[in-house]
Amino acid sequence: MTTDTPAVVAEGLHKRYGTTRALDGFDLTVPAGTVCGLLGPNGAGKTTAVRILSTLLRFDAGRARVAGYDVTRQPEQVRGVIGLTGQYAAVDEVLSGRQNLILFGRLHHLPVRAARRRADELLAQFGLTDAAGKSAGEYSGGMRRRLDLAASLIMTPRVLFLDEPTTGLDPRSRNQLWTAVRRLVADGTTVLLSTQYLEEADQLADRILVVDAGRVVAEGTSAELKARIGADRIEVVVRDAAELGAAAAVVERFAAGPVEVDVEIRQLGAPVVERVAALGDIMRALSDAAIAVEDVGLRRPTLDEAFLHLTGQRPAGVPSADQPAGAGVAA
């Protein structure tokens, strides 16, 4: 495979369950060596897409290729070069962590000694050496997820599918998992990551695809999407309504979009890209212009708002967030 062949390609995938369209014209291209995030709410079709691309699920129409192999016609070749870690740890709960990794190594056709050596390496790498002899069923959620990821990495995969890998994990386990994924990517593995968390996609993904109702509704880098979503907003309340015009001119220099003025409450609002830098710049500039500021706040768009912007409707199952997060100003 040459480097310019995309690692994952999906064209017009359709998958129906009865009358439900799980995928409805799903397209995707992931360049080799990159991390692609699939961002979307529950039921958007992320898991269906991942299961199809990892050969677990048949589909009704469309085409899919992974590492240059056709998913339908060459599933065995695909299975030889992929790794899969899902939201439920796919390990044998009766066997010990070490037995699990040896088993999966043997099923990758490693000789016994090589499988044992690889198991011990991975246990050490994922901090599971002390728990190597314990049943995987007795592991904590984070340990089990780490074991599951280790099992996907027995043969360093060309393409790694991560289906909501950190759902339900504590921050420490989540960071450990992210570190492991970054190391893999540095090694040349392509990653397709599905997640419900904007932050996770933000942390790991080079490109993010927003999925809703079985299709990709928006695509871009994290910065591009945030700009489209309306990015973070800065909100400034000035002491004197007469200075609103001057303040708006200052804010506009650092804003990523139009400045909105609310004379009634003497407030200015504008989208910003680098939130902390923009806050500093704006406060400094306002101070230089001798404009008295009564209050200032940054607020970040929630995933809910992101969906509102990108799909024009609230995602199913996500409660509406009317209260702005981290607002310093009464809106």
């Binding site: 677990l56 048949r58 299975r79 070069v81 066997l95 099923l107 360093t156």
Partner: protein
Amino acid sequence: MTSTLRSPSRMSGADSAVRPDSASGGALARFRRALADGWVMTGRNMSHVIRSPEEIVIYFSLPIMFVLVFGYVFGSGMAVSGSGYREYLLPGVFVMTMLYGLGATASGIAMDVSRGVVDRFRSMPMARSALVVGRTGADLLRALLEMATLVVCGLLVGWQWRNGLGSALGAVGLILLLRIALTWVGIFLGLVVPNPDTVGVIVFPLAFPLSALSNVFVSPDLMPQWLGTIAAWNPLSATVAAARELFGNPGTGGDSWPAEHSLVLAIAWPVLLIAVFAPLAVRRYQRLSR
């Protein structure tokens, strides 16, 4: 990472003539790989048994209890009394133990399929048959251990084989053939049930009448005629009758057609069961990717 393992395909190109290891070679190489994968899965299933010792106790206490309870409790009320009845009974208990093993097969498969681990197996370059081959392999090993336990137990309570070792091994072979056939029934059941807990609920009501309505405990000749006919045609009865004949144990008689052709039926029934349930199970297994 101290070292990185790449599958051979990583080096070769998708468009080059060299195909990945997992798909290379002819039918023979594939078959060998399927056997190897099946053997690895057999080992995995055996590790399960070793890691839960309480299960081992249950496995081996059940057949022993069958011998003692049925041999002595029922034996005291039977026309052929004492060791005579126990000699009649033992081949039946061998077969009945094989029948109850079906529950373990079904729950083992149901457990695998209900857990996330089956997704990992299915996303790996292993033979798809390995899950089922490994189950069959492990259950057959277990059946061998159960047979050994039962034979020792039987010898202790007065059972013996009277037609030489060759015939005795032939009888054991027929009993294991039935066990293999029942494995496929169990695999199918395990794939059909909604969750592993339902297996017991389904298997017991199925296995109990099947073993009672046979020649395991009582000769079908002594039953009301319609019951006797059912019992005589019961697949278990064929294997039991054939085993009695080969072991040289009493009770081979009976003038019904199935009783006179028990050897043929002891091969035909299991083959028929495999022919029906193996394709059903395979179809059901493939439906996992729907």
